[in-house]
Symmetry: C2
Subunit: 350 residues, 2 copies
């Protein structure tokens, strides 16, 4: 076997290994973390051959999962998200919970992984048997990331995790999207004199079910308590949620491991009350309907772009705009018409 044959053999072996979808599904269901990682990579892929396998995988797993509690965690850079997640995650592990951590960070496309990309982050948590940590993928659009996160949650549930923490950066639009995949939204904030309401957007504060002031330790403890009080006031300015839950404020110190119990109690009480009043189940269904619409939208576009003459048609359309000064609206309409017609004539002959 020469070098080239060897490479091609390795490649085809890799491909064969990759397409054992039933085996992969089985391993995910058994809670194998490596397999779960592979499965998520498959879900995140936009290659057509991977998409087919992703569909197969989800079909095999969608009825084998038990629903986990899904918690969104956000906060601006510097608020201490990883330290918090490590501390809170360890608290949950001590309670006997299996915890999955997923990151959504569209900015990592540019910065090559600003959250969870660094392997040294959360290294104590990462070593736990009961914990699965998944960094943010380094490519793709916000919509794509958020959608694959929604499916990754399903995979983590199939792998038997009890609690899924979804981490976002708190500066972009990710939060609004992630809100559509989680049951509870936790916003981390820093204390500071006079700037309590800076840095975070009003829109993100509105999403929060619980606001936690971090780094409430040492000299900072008093400031944190003052900040908590002023945030509590600020949150009264927002309209009430449709789940009858009144968002509140707590303080914590990941450094001194303080406040984790109170946070978990709040989340449990949220879970109990929204289970009782039916909101939790209703909300999950509404979220899935949101993703149905979203996925249809992106799927249509992907099929359109996968069209064989696509790049030629696109270049032609662009030329009409650049050289002909035509309206984008008109050219777009023509582009879609052409696609529909060609699609029909190609498939109509079968």
């Amino acid at each position: 076997m020469n070098e080239e044959q060897r490479k091609s053999w390795i490649l085809s072996r890799k491909r064969q290994q990759a397409i054992d979808v039933p085996g992969l599904a089985e391993d995910v269901a058994l809670g194998n973390r490596l397999s779960l990682g592979k499965a998520i990579t498959l879900i995140e892929s936009t290659k057509p051959e991977d998409r087919t396998m992703a569909v197969q995988l989800l079909e095999l797993l969608q009825h084998r999962r038990k629903e986990a509690l899904r918690i969104g965690i956000t906060g601006v850079p510097g608020v201490g998200k990883s330290t918090f997640i490590e501390s809170f995650g360890m608290y949950l592990v001590a309670l006997g919970k299996r915890v999955a951590v997923l990151a959504v960070d569209p900015s990592s496309t540019k910065n090559k992984g600003s959250i969870l990309g660094d392997k040294t982050r959360m290294n104590v948590l990462a070593q736990q048997e009961a914990v699965f940590i998944r960094p943010s993928p380094s490519g793709g659009t916000l919509g794509g990331l958020a959608r694959s996160t929604n499916e990754s949650i399903l995979l983590c549930e199939a792998a038997g995790y009890d609690i899924i923490l979804v981490e976002t950066v708190g500066v972009g639009q990710s939060e609004t999207m992630v809100k559509q995949s989680v049951d509870f939204f936790l916003l981390l904030m820093l204390s500071g004199a006079g700037d309590e309401l800076q840095g975070i957007k009003r829109g993100i504060m509105e999403l929060a079910d619980l606001l936690v002031i971090t780094k409430a330790d040492g000299d900072n403890e008093r400031a944190a308590n003052i900040a908590a009080a002023s945030y509590k006031n600020a949150m009264h300015l927002f309209p009430p949620n449709d789940n009858d839950w009144i968002p509140t404020t707590l303080v914590c110190s990941a450094l001194e491991n303080k406040g984790m119990e109170a946070i978990w109690q709040k989340i449990e009480s949220f879970k109990n009350s929204t289970t009782l009043n039916g909101w939790l189940a209703k909300n999950r269904i509404e979220q899935q309907l949101f993703w149905l619409e979203r996925t249809v939208q992106t799927d249509l576009l992907e099929r359109f772009m996968a069209f064989e003459n696509f790049s030629e048609m696109q270049q032609n359309a662009e030329r009409r705009i650049i050289e002909g000064g035509e309206s984008a609206f008109l050219v777009a309409q023509k582009l879609v018409n052409d696609w529909m017609n060609t699609y029909f004539s190609t498939h109509g002959k079968d």
Copy 2:
């Protein structure tokens, strides 16, 4: 003629009146403001029959326009946007310019028109022969609003307006979208002790080519100048633009009609330098390519939803999620597949 016949006759007359597209195009090109208003209504409509007419209208007008200077104006509620636009607009009219004002406010979907909906706003400006003011449409998505704004600009250009002011609310995502339709972006801000950087998002500040501190009159003038200086510093924190333009800060008083000349000079100097270095033309082409992609995306979705069995298929898909607990991703894929197949079989028989 009974009551029913009469109604149907009025309706059909209205329809007949509506479909004289060549006549409408002619009237728009002659600068008739009522016709321009009608034309924009047609562009904004999502009804299929209106879409056909909109295409026809744009085809008739797309090569008859002369390019106007397009200026985006934004600022949080309370900053004095309407007062500023009235004052700035009157300044432009005095220079002999014809000015069109378009509003983009996605929040008006809920609040039934929070900007430009109030007819008493800008009443001096609105009375000018050389001025066209268009309130934000009261329905539709942000994407839809922004796209129709892009086409409305084209119509205003066909009607011979020299300067088009596009007003947004400064709190949502509208600015990023509107940025794709304008040449120059003006951000209005208030002065205030200590809160100079509050209320507005970093992302919006990054879009600004010029920052104007409003209400620099009376006791407030000193504070406005201080604010201008601190904003100037803050803007140094942002990466430089690709057009070699260095964003700057000015103060104005719409009340005392101060600062309008300096603002207009800045905008003219921007226009001259970006015309010289070729950025202006290049940017407009890039913007149109952005809208090409956007329009394709929404167009695909609209066709999908216009499918005759759509509501039945959608209900079925929703049932699979709600009752069957299936994955949104899988159901969406099936929905699109079904649509593609049915579309093919329906059209394949012709």
